[in-house]
């Protein structure tokens, strides 16, 4: 039953997301693209792009979109798709809701405890790695044949995302514009779309 699977998947994602929407992307990607194969890498990349351009938190946007797409594709019914997006979105928020309501009473003590600093000090770098992994998975497809570290990895570029050298120029240009140029993500996406139309 796809609705139960969606609910469980997004509930777990909501429970394990630390460090905001971008950290959540790597969880959504692993569950939805890699594990369940509900969507392709490129369909997921499109959803991330649209989630960044539209109002609202990126994690919620992404869940809403994925919920619709997965169910609508599987059943062919837009109405069930709407139910799918509601399921994914509510399941994503439910863990936060329960945990926040519990924390709200004790949070001052919690924040000053040595436990908090100890856990957050390890979580922050782990989350950095997870976000990096999301970007790597959208760029190259890496798979070990047999035993990791003992045998050669098979590396290939994700062709739908990185079509040719122009894709790499766009990637590098967007990083420079966004990081050093402080161009807003929405402007970067719009410019990327215009350049894509002109170049391809």
């Amino acid at each position: 039953m796809i609705f139960v699977q969606l609910f469980v998947t997004f509930f777990v994602i909501g429970l394990f997301t630390f460090g905001g929407g971008y950290a959540m992307l790597s969880l959504i990607q692993t569950e939805v693209v890699v594990r369940h194969a509900w969507l392709t890498e490129s369909a997921f990349t499109d959803i991330v792009g649209i989630s960044q351009m539209t109002p609202g938190p990126i994690g919620i946007n992404c869940a809403t979109y994925v919920g619709y797409d997965v169910v609508a594709q599987m059943t062919g019914s837009p109405l069930l798709g709407i139910a799918g997006s509601a399921t994914a979105t509510l399941a994503l928020m439910l863990p936060s809701f329960l945990i926040m309501l519990a924390l709200v009473r004790v949070y001052r003590r919690f924040k000053e405890s040595s436990m908090y600093e100890s856990v957050m000090g390890l979580l922050r770098p782990a989350v950095v790695g997870l976000i990096g992994a999301a970007a790597v998975i959208l760029t190259v497809d890496a798979q070990w044949q047999g035993v990791p570290l003992l045998s050669e990895p098979r590396l290939s570029v994700v062709r739908e995302n990185m079509i040719d050298w122009k894709s790499w120029v766009l990637l590098a240009g967007a990083f420079v514009a966004g990081y050093w140029g402080k161009v807003s993500p929405i402007a970067v996406i719009i410019i990327g779309g215009v350049l894509g139309f002109v170049l391809y």
């Binding site: 609202g56 938190p57 997006s85 928020m93 997870l130």
Partner: protein, 183 residues
């Protein structure tokens, strides 16, 4: 909790307004929430940093966590529900509309060309917050080691991020007890 009389509908509409004008994630939401809530006298200036700090340390989407906490302060459990539903309703409707229309256009040649340009750019937009977080969160060699190990394990060995996070949390708790015991 200062004002039990704030109608739930008002909480819903204020957070819907905040949700509608937040583009680009939770941090963009903070100044808008601050303005809307201080103007109405719903929270004091000194309360917001606490709300943000707690929202960051709980799992989930930060913007939703802020809404839950702020709504709870206003009207308890019902307020939390109203604020949360308010903050996600605008984006839910916008995304749903786009998803329903876009799935019919995905094979359109013009759309294919446009998204050929957007996809590589989106990858950079994921990398930028990562670099920012690395500069703030990775200040020691072992922090870099954790970051690289989790990147490697997830991207190449295909370990689920959930295991990485679970192990990290357990290690953090164990470390705290260890430090406590040595003191």
């Amino acid at each position: 909790m200062k004002n039990e009389q704030i109608p739930l509908w008002n909480i819903f509409t204020v957070f819907a307004k905040v949700g509608a004008f937040t583009i680009g994630g939770g941090y963009a939401m903070i100044p808008i929430i601050q303005e809307e809530m201080e103007r109405r006298g719903w929270i004091g200036e000194e309360e917001l940093p606490d709300i943000v700090a707690l929202s960051q340390s709980a799992p989930g989407v930060m913007a939703v966590n802020i809404s839950i906490f702020a709504g709870y302060r206003l009207r308890g459990f019902k307020g939390a529900v109203a604020a949360t539903l308010g903050s996600i309703t605008p984006s839910f409707l916008v995304i749903l509309a786009i998803a329903m229309v876009f799935s019919g256009f995905r094979d359109n040649p013009v759309i294919v060309r446009i998204f050929s340009g957007i996809r590589p750019v989106v990858i950079s937009l994921i990398l930028i917050p990562m670099v920012d977080m690395a500069r703030k969160g990775c200040k020691t060699w072992w922090a870099w080691l954790i970051a690289l190990a989790s990147l490697f394990l997830v991207a190449f060995v295909k370990v689920s991020p959930i295991y990485i996070l679970a192990v990290t949390i357990v290690a953090g708790v164990a470390l705290a007890y260890y430090k406590e015991a040595r003191r």
